[in-house]
Each structure stands twice: as C-alpha cells, then as structure tokens.
Symmetry: C2
Subunit: 512 residues, 2 copies
Amino acid sequence: MDRRAEILYHHIDLMKETYIKRLKEFVAIPSISEDLNHRLDVLRALRWCGIRLKNMGFDIRYRIVGTENVYIGDEVPLRTEETAHLPYLLCASLGYDTTKYTLLIYGHVDVKMIAPGEVWNGDPFEMQVVGDFIYGRGVTDDKGPVLGWINAIETFTQCAIELPVNVRFLIDGSEETGSELIPELLRELRKDFLVGVDFVAISDNYWLNMDTPCLTYGLRGVIYFYVYVDGSSRVLHSGTHGGAVQNPLVDLEALMCSLVSTNGTILVPGAYSCVRRPTEAELRQDYFFSQNFETLDFDPATYAKQIGTDALYSNDKVELLRRRWLLPAVEFHGIEKSFDRIGAPTLIPKSVMGKFSLRIVPDQNPYLMSERFKCYLHQMHYRRCSGNRLRVKSFIDGRAFLADHTCVNYRAAYKALEEVWKKKPDLTRDGATIAMACTLEETTNRDVVLIPMGECQDFQHEARERMSVRNYINGIKVFVSYLCNLSAAIIEDSEDEDMRQEDRDRWRKRFW
Amino acid sequence: MDRRAEILYHHIDLMKETYIKRLKEFVAIPSISEDLNHRLDVLRALRWCGIRLKNMGFDIRYRIVGTENVYIGDEVPLRTEETAHLPYLLCASLGYDTTKYTLLIYGHVDVKMIAPGEVWNGDPFEMQVVGDFIYGRGVTDDKGPVLGWINAIETFTQCAIELPVNVRFLIDGSEETGSELIPELLRELRKDFLVGVDFVAISDNYWLNMDTPCLTYGLRGVIYFYVYVDGSSRVLHSGTHGGAVQNPLVDLEALMCSLVSTNGTILVPGAYSCVRRPTEAELRQDYFFSQNFETLDFDPATYAKQIGTDALYSNDKVELLRRRWLLPAVEFHGIEKSFDRIGAPTLIPKSVMGKFSLRIVPDQNPYLMSERFKCYLHQMHYRRCSGNRLRVKSFIDGRAFLADHTCVNYRAAYKALEEVWKKKPDLTRDGATIAMACTLEETTNRDVVLIPMGECQDFQHEARERMSVRNYINGIKVFVSYLCNLSAAIIEDSEDEDMRQEDRDRWRKRFW
C-alpha cells in the first residue's frame, strides 16, 4: 500500500457519516424507470449526480436517445413534456491528460418498482441504517455503487492528490427497463465521448457469499419469451362447455412443460450447442490467482439455507456453480390472463400468456437460440393438434459476457480488493445478465471489469433491499485503490503486452 | 289450451311493460354475494322479493343458517352486524289446501361480481332494453326467472283464477358462493316448511340453442381443486439462481399437464369408473317424446361460432354432447401467485397455486374421485423428485344429477313449453352443476324439474349478460301453464302410478 492510499483510506473513514447521509439523499428520489409516473424522478436522480459531478470539475452532458446528439445544458430541464424523450444518459468527463489512461465507469440511477407483495419496515425510499446495514430501494442496485465511484473520485481532490487516471462516467436512467436504446446512443458517443477510453469498470453485481469479495469475469445473456395461446373469443363456463373445447391454458402449460425435463435439462434441440466448455482448470484445478470453482468460498448447504429452499438440482458445489454460470437455463416466471385472482371461478380463459426466460452462455448466438425455441414451440403446438392459436414473441435482453480475467484491468481490481479486504478475492462468474457489459466491451473494444460492491444477500429487487455499511465504505476504498493500481499495473505489465495480446484475442474472439 | 290459460296469457301480454319495469328495479340492487361489501345488498334483494310475496298473501320467513331456526319477522333488519349471519334464505308459503298438490320453487337473488375485464355499455346494474334484449347483471341468472315465477303466481290473483297448486318458495342469497350452508338448513326445514311438497321446480339453466325451448333432466357435479407448490422462502432472481433451483411453477405446470392428454382424456386412473352409460336410445334412437341426442336442435358448427372457437374436440354432434353432458371433464382455470401482472420480471416465484375443476357425472362418487385425484397428484409429484412441497385441497361443490324425465313433473312442464312455444321442446342434459337440484331431490324425495328460461347466448357471469324479452314473457306464460298442467297431469297420470313407480326407482337409485 503506497502513501497515497493510506491518506485516501483515512479520509474515507472520516467521511463515513457524510457518505451515508449522501446515499440517503440519493435513495430518497423514487427513480422508478418502469413507472411512467416516476420518469421525472429518473431525471431528478440523473441531475442529482450531474450537479455533484459538475461541482467536482466534470464536464457534464445529458444525452437523449432517439433525437440528435443534443447538448441540453448543465441541468436537465424538468418539464413534463420531455419525459417522452427518455432515457437520458448522463455523460461526464474529468481529465484529458494524454499521458494518463482513461477509465470509463458505467452505472445506473433507476430502480425497480415496489412490487405488491414486498413488505418493508417503513418507506422504501426513506433510507434507514439498522445495525451494520443500510436499507432502502436502490442502496445496492445501483445507487450505492454509483455514489461510491463519485465519492472515491472526490476523495482525491479533497486529499489534494492528483487523480491517477482520466475518468469518464456513463450514468444510465433506463437499466431496469433494459437500457433498450443505449447501444444506439453509444454508437454516436464513439465519435467523441468514448474516444481514448482504455478501461471499463462496472459495479452492478454481487459477491458469491457474505464474506469474500469477488471479481466477476463472466455473465449469462438472456432472451425473454412471451407465449400466447388464443382460444375462444369469449370466456366460457367450464360446466356448460368443459370437455368440448380445447382449453388454451392446458395448451400453454403443455408447451411450457415440453421445454424442460424433471431434472432441469432443456429439451429444445440445440439448446446446449456452442456452449463453451470450461477448462478442467477453471472447474477443478489451480488456475490464475490460484482460483477455481472448487476453491471458491461457496457452500451448497449454506446457499440452500440463504435462499430458503430444499429443491436444489444438485448438492455438489462445482455442479451447482456450473448450472448457475456455465449452462443455459430456462425459467418460468408467470402466466398472464388466466383466472389468477383469489377465488374459485369455474371459467375457461379465452386466451393466456406464459412468460419464460432463457439464459444463454458464451458462445451461444441469441438470434439462433431465439429462433430455435420459437420453432420448437410451434412444432410442439402443431403436434398437439389444437385449434387454439399460438404466437411467440421473444426479446433479446442481453448477450453472454466473458472477459479475459488475466488482463491488466482485472489485475488492478484484484490487487485493490486484496489490499482493502486483506484476503484473496474470489474470481467468479455470475448467472445474471448485465447487457451493458457486452455492449461496452464491443463499443470500446476494451476490457470490462465487474467489481461488485454488495453481498449475495443484499435482496436487490426485493423487499428490504440492503447493503452493509462495511461493504459501502470498503467499496469506496477499493475504487480508490483500483484507480491508483490501474496506472501502476499498466507500467508493470507493458513489457509482456505482446504476449498477452494473443491471450486476449483468444478470450475476446466473438462468440458467434 | 283451456279457457284459464287464455285469460292468463292475455293478462301477461298486457303486463309486459310492468314486468320489465319490475325487473329493472330488481336488477338495480347490486346483490353480489361474493363481495362482503355487498352482503347487505343481498339482504335487500331478498327483502325486495319478500315484500312482493307478502303482498300477494304469502307467509314469509327469513331463515338464517347456523343459528336456531329463528323467525325474524316480516322484514330483514338491515343492520350491519347481521351480515355475519348470512346466508339468509327466504321461505314463502301460499296455500295449505290438502286437496291440491304442493310445488316447491327454488331460485336465487345473488349475482356474480363484475370481473375486471368485463366491458358493459353503462352500469351493469342499470338494466337496459335494447331491441329485443334486456341487458343487466342478473337478468338471466337468476333474477329474471325468480321474478318470472312471482309474476306468474300473481297473474292468477289478478285474473281472479284460483291457484291450481299450493306454492312454496325457497329463495337463496348464496348460490353464487356455493350455497354452502343451505343443505344443513334444508334438513331443519324438512320438519315444517318442506312438509307436503309434491314437486320441485328450478329455473336456473339455459337452452341448448337460441330457438328451441328445453327441459333439462341431467347435470354434472363439480369438484374444485387448489394445487399448491411451495418452493423457496423468497422470490429468486432467475439470472443468479436459474438452473440451480427447482422452479415451483415448472412443478405445478407438469402436475397439471399430467391430468389430461392432448385429446382431453383424463389420465387419472379411475377417472371414468362408474360413469353411467347412456342407453343407445338416449344417444341415437327414438326416445321418450321422440327425443334423443341426434334429433336435438344443436349444430356443432353453429356452436363453435357462438362461442368463437376453432378448437372443438369433436365436430360430431352426438360426440360433442356426450363430452359436454355424459363424461367427466377436467378444466384448468388459472394459476395464482405467479408473476401474472403485465411486464417481464425475471424472477422465480416462491410458491404458486393452480386451480382446476373436475366435472363428475352420474354415478360417480365425489369423495372417491376427489381422493383419486389427490393421490394421483401426489404420486406424480413424488416421481418428479422435486424438493418443492405439494399441497392439494379439494371442495365438492355439487353432485351430479339425473332425473326421471318421464315423470309427471316433466310431463307437465313439457306440455307447458309445447303449448307456449308452439314447438316440441328439446329434452337435454347440461354439463354445468346446480348443487341444489340434487340436494332438493334428496331432501324432499320428489322429482325435480329444470325449466330454463334463458337462451344459450345469454352470457351469464359475463359482460353484457342478457335475456330476450320474448323469453322473459313467454317464460312467465310457461310457468303459468305448468302450474295449470301440474294438477291436471297428476289426475291423468294417477292410474298407472304403480307401474311408473318402478321406473322412478330405477332412475332414482342412488348413484353411489
């Protein structure tokens, strides 16, 4: 640990209460992007960050998707008519020193809505600190980490230490609705804002456990399917008509059941094609940083207890992680338009819609997979000889991601985690999807590192979403240390850069 | 047609507008029994009938279920605390002449709630007459028929013609919630109110078509099932956990699918045991009143058009009717507690509940069938080796019913229909369930006739529930004629009564 870090860490400890107070202010903005009524709040949250960054010396621009690449001014005007222009993206730049490397940080300010069943102690948007935990909607996903980065950068100025890298911030207001239009905007930004970016960092996922920090180098992609079965033109009485008419709900359930076997294997032909095999090393043996699936801090029994289930497909650690990270998975989420309210109606629904998602892994082609599933469903429906009509819609919400976790970017982050947490971090994958990881890697052609701030039990998107004060404060220290290591690591590493380029190409080769 | 009928019919025609106005007043009471907020309205509707009947000379008693057999007074007191005592039953008696026969009429004043998806032109409780149709919640189920009976009986007084039979009215306020406590109350009523009843009539089902009146002699029973699959203690993110955990929704759908094959055959062993075979005569050949399934006014193509489907299991008339009336059927209604709201959540539900019903037919034992289904579901779940927990609840909501349609009661009704409609009525069964048909037959040990007033396209329980003015007015004439025929028929019939008793015993033999 160099002298700089020592000063910075000390300052962060002193600022602890201020950082928590700041997060409370940030969380108080109910920036729910799914809910049109809260779209102005999303803008407010972006502006909240914008003002803070501007005060730190950043150049601020708010960009709108779908219109010209407009400079709107320092503050987003909060007139209602503008809500249609969402999503906005906040682009902030600090430092143009060509002798320094440039880091791009991505995060989002929007949060999930409070679902009807969620039980909170008090208002989810009024942040509370209880014991070592901070509770509130968005504290861990992703307001805590976003503010963490801002705090980390501010620390340098406050301690009068020169920022070791140029920083670019990309702050999204539409992540929870799929960042649909962002890739288009990024293509525009490539002409100016993204020029010269050397590294990308995202902090929007979670540890594998409660105690060991981790770096994440792989993600699954996701395709979402809507399966509509349309039956009669009106709801039918099951007594009068039961047995005479093919029930759309029966057709739908049969279709959904035809997707997976009892042991969770996907039955669609080609569902496992192109799945990149993990090396034996990754699974069982020594690996880079002496990490592999077997040495990871993960215990199936503890895991089962954490999620409160007796229904794990496997109790073997490696097999379980393989299922969560390396294999595609189909999950059913719900059925719309059946008689799903409380009560015992005896009606046959006239049309129903089933929702399921398919997680895909490197090197699977999402377009091909989507088509395979659609064809299969139509085939299965045809075989049932049902007179009901089938329609299938699919949405590719994110591709799989796999980084070269031996690159400079990961080394710098690894060292930072080790230094702050005083233990070797886990090198993990994650079964979830961060569409922007892939998009940013492609757009910038740079390594993207995922540095999670929260733990596995942070209940993101759930009731009583939380983050420990420990993780929040140490997270800021990790970011500070990472910024310092980044330039140092590059210098250390530059000698064997040619050799490493080969490795990188191997990892980066496009999956499809 | 005798002279009496002529006078009565003429009077009914004169009263047409009054009858419609009366129905409007009755429909305006939103007597939704499912909704606790409308329980007082159910009482209001009962009282509305009570006052009307009292003015006609009936003895009125309101009975409460679950307390002593109390006489409350002429009017139901409408204090909120009493709502807990529901359901009330209105018992009304007119005539104690031992030289006359006694007819028991059953009907109900409660209606179904307006479902969220129902689109009406205006307020469903503000009855509208458009063209030949009366629209409004309850007009056909069952306020129209109930008021029809009341109007029919009133006609005799107004025309100064002696009522040919003694009348007993049983008016229910809880039919749409399953008349759960009524059988218990009926056992009490056997001691007084039901003494001396000779015939029972119910008008609470529908024609097979739009043009030909019918008499119904058979009904299916129904058992309702709730299938719960409980998984993890909290909702799980499908990215992070997908593929590792058994999804309760997958288990549930697989269970539901294991119940029926693609052609609608029930796969539960014993599902078709004890099904009473129809005689060849009933299906294809000449039958009593020259009626059989083949001669019925029913066309599969028209039927498919009426219900707006291309998904009939069969296009053969007899086969289709067999499936609707003579065979058990499983129908799926909905799935509760999955992610059934609009949107694309990527969560695994923590526990889900599927709802399906089983229609049973004569001579199936509902208790046995219920147990068979429960065992089968548990067996199927066991085979899946799922760690999720299964619970199955079942409710027997009504048994199958089969009447001797050659008895005096049916002859009297048949003749009345023929006389009023000037055509031979259809003799039909119905796939739906009227639990009270069976209960009343058992309690009184008398023949129960089902005389539908509405047509097949009356949209009961649906948006724009309706009844044609023609059916309403002619229905009243049919009731009047039926009352006249009843005594006449008995006299004609009494000579071969001994011979007929044998037939009746054959029909009536308990199914299980």
